[in-house]
Symmetry: C2
């Protein structure tokens, strides 16, 4: 008996039950609710139906466009239909850039290889001169290589041809390793005297579909026009140059930037029945590029956020705390919506418990990423365990999403929906991002696991511990 007691004292940690232990036990008591939510999502989920409606009514939703306003009104009406509280527009100024009617990159030399090359102007770029420009191409694989070109780039078109690393399982890290060329290529090329910058499309596919996306000018660097060309087109140019050919392109586009336009975030609450001042945000961004339908990026994320709350309402799972859906404006070319949310809610930021964004495509869920502190992370890990049967048991350290990013400074715990990554960069920012690329079970299951996570966080007896620095 003495030996047994000694064993216990030696081997067990101090048995005091902490707040975290209690919260984890609270989470674990909710397995049946989680199964119920996920079954409802798969059986009768409406995320695909809503996304079909959105993408049909407003396929092009770039900031400042009439399409964005159509989408915002659509979102407001859905929130009303679903019985949200305090449905409102929260306004911000958003940039207004238009692609224009002309977009052309043509290979003119060597004469034996003349061809039109699939292209899309990058969001924010200036136009070329009115009838286009014609110049020799120089190819680099990175911003650093462009800087090294020196005077040899003067008067030329710089083609940034650094590929996404297809060998990586995580396509997002492959994108992260290459996208600097798209964002900063025009600056880097202008610094060495180039007249234009082209960039290989940011996709894991080798094909002829061009992918657009945002770019930035710097105040102290001349602005030069820039566009993406397809991966096959980029590889063709690079191969010709590697074979010793002089390659000359004609480049013509008439994009323009107009004065900012007022655009709203669309916000609706489901007030908590016990602690309505404590807020859990769930959202996506409602704007999208002006090609395809923004189905995965990010109409699908918006519909999952709406659907997550609708599922809980349907099941009568009314949480203690307030659930707030935010459909953010202007993620793609400015992030005005994410910043405006923080400005509009400055007086209640310390009551923001968690903000979850779905903006990585609406493919089969694998889990979530989060920046949570250790105590909150233990609770989120326990929630992930309950989602493992749905294939969504992975909780990893990472970001929440671009739109909820500005909430980090307030101490709000951020969570990002983390789906299967393999198809996303096939279609991201391209004409391929359409309803046809979305699967009903996948988007609905994703909405279900999001609903389960926000339900538990919003209904736990203990409030999820906020991050330091808030």
């Amino acid at each position: 008996m003495a030996l047994f007691a000694a064993l216990i004292l030696t081997l067990l940690p101090v048995a005091a039950v902490t707040d975290t232990d209690q919260a984890v036990a609270d989470v674990r008591s909710r397995a049946e609710q989680v199964h119920q939510i996920i079954a409802e999502a798969l059986q009768r989920g409406r995320a695909m139906e809503r996304l079909t409606d959105l993408c049909t009514r407003a396929p092009h939703r770039l900031a400042g466009s009439p399409g964005y306003m159509a989408a915002a009104e659509w979102g407001r009406q859905i929130m009303e239909e679903d019985g949200f509280d305090n449905v409102r527009f929260e306004w911000t100024d958003a940039p207004r850039w238009e692609r224009g009617s002309v977009g052309r990159v043509a290979l003119v030399e060597p004469a034996s290889h003349q061809a039109e090359l699939p292209m899309l102007a990058l969001g924010g770029t200036i136009a070329t001169p009115e009838h286009g420009l014609t110049a020799e191409v120089v190819v680099v694989d990175s911003l650093a290589e462009a800087a090294e070109l020196g005077v040899s780039a003067r008067g030329k078109i710089v083609l940034f041809n650094g590929p996404l690393d297809r060998a990586r399982v995580d396509t997002f890290s492959a994108y992260g390793g290459a996208v600097g060329q798209r964002v900063g290529g025009a600056q880097a090329a202008a610094k060495v005297g180039a007249v234009a910058a082209l960039v290989r499309s940011m996709t894991t596919r080798i094909d002829d579909v061009p992918h657009t996306g945002g770019m930035r000018y710097a105040a102290d660097v001349p602005k030069i026009p820039t566009a993406a060309i397809s991966t096959l087109a980029a590889e063709k140019i690079a191969a010709l140059i590697a074979a010793g050919e002089k390659v000359v392109l004609h480049f013509n586009q008439n994009c323009r930037t107009m004065p900012d336009a007022p655009n709203p975030n669309v916000v609706g609450d489901w007030l908590g029945h016990e602690r309505p001042d404590e807020i859990i945000v769930v959202g996506g961004h409602l704007d999208c590029w002006d090609v395809g339908q923004g189905a995965h990026d990010d109409g699908g994320g918006c519909c999952q956020a709406l659907e997550a709350v609708r599922l809980l309402k349907t099941l009568g799972l009314h949480p203690r705390r307030t659930l707030r859906v935010v459909l953010f404006a202007n993620e793609e070319n400015g992030l005005a919506g994410g910043r405006a949310y923080v400005a509009h809610h400055e007086d209640e930021l310390d009551k923001h418990v968690l903000a979850l964004e779905s903006d990585s495509g609406v493919f089969t869920p694998r889990g979530f990423t989060t920046d949570a502190n250790p105590a909150a992370r233990a609770i989120l890990d326990a929630i992930a365990e309950l989602l493992a049967h749905a294939g969504a048991g992975r909780m990893t350290t990472g970001h929440g999403g671009a739109d909820v990013g500005p909430l980090a400074a307030s101490g709000t715990v951020l969570v990002g929906y983390d789906p299967d990554p393999h198809r996303y960069f096939d279609l991201h920012h391209s004409a391929r991002d359409t309803l046809a690329a979305v699967n009903e079970r996948e988007i609905n299951l994703g909405a279900g696991v999001i609903a389960a996570l926000i339900w538990i966080v919003a209904d736990l007896e203990q409030t999820l511990p906020r991050n330091p620095g808030g």
Copy 2:
């Protein structure tokens, strides 16, 4: 010190290093090889290219058809091209059923709802009378309900309308819960005097795409014609009857069964450099239904098996044991290929270490299923840990696959490729099962994790322990 010793004796298991421990350590030493295989698969994998070739040359590959022979010769040529040893056809007799030129289900009463209903005859069914049959419909949700119809079914068409349970995360278990109606519906309906059996398509979607599949007659029960109709058509009929309407259908098809035809399994080895008599089988089935292109079911699985070995050859990873690719004949309507493999290799079945099949679609890998004994399972679990970074870290208890199933009795450990299940029954056995539904990264990553698993099992110093009963 005495207490400490007592603690150790009390708490630790005997520390002898077992064969299994050594094998697990051997597995764990191979993490770098696994990363190398998976990176090669994603970067330069050829599974999609090969599948495109197969599905373009031989989209319809039903047992006994010219298309099957085209596919078999394609497989033989690929094995030769990739430098396999002992490439050969291993012959079996396979059933030869043809859909025919006529296939029609039409709603004729109530007159206000007349419509053509999307349908596909089930594989193996007899024809209707030459000009079709016209009869009232009675609806049931299961085989048991059909048996209870008694004389009320006499002269009628029985519609089996039991749905797949969409609420289940695992679509394969949903399919398993419903498919008995397709396989046994004609028998059950004939027993109560019906003139035909129709079955709701075995899909998780509610749409107008019919899904075919195998069915069986019994020797002592009259044969009646049978077909699948779309889920929407089945629900429409059921709704009309539930509303009190009498529903009459016209049903016409001219399918026929001809004498068996010789069909080969296509077999090729990569002989092991140290123990060539020990064999690891990897395969899929080369036959498919005569609609769509059999891209996921199971051209994709065949191409993953071929690709897994090609990857290892490309990387110079030549294992101790023999890797054998088998492209099986006649899975869809008979399993003659799986049975013939066992008959052809009777004298070396005790040297079969493991047989892996990919026949659940070529979607993103989640892991594998297996029937392995505990010692073998510990080794497979350690392999799964190495695959977790690729999202394929799940090893669960289950079957290997229909074609490798007959090997179970020999004690061969069976493993099944276990991909994401959500899209499979959208397209299974339907016109939707085409190349357009296959993603290049997904099929290649699957080939990579299969390659990693068979590489390790084939190259371990210790032979994977066989199952009892062999």
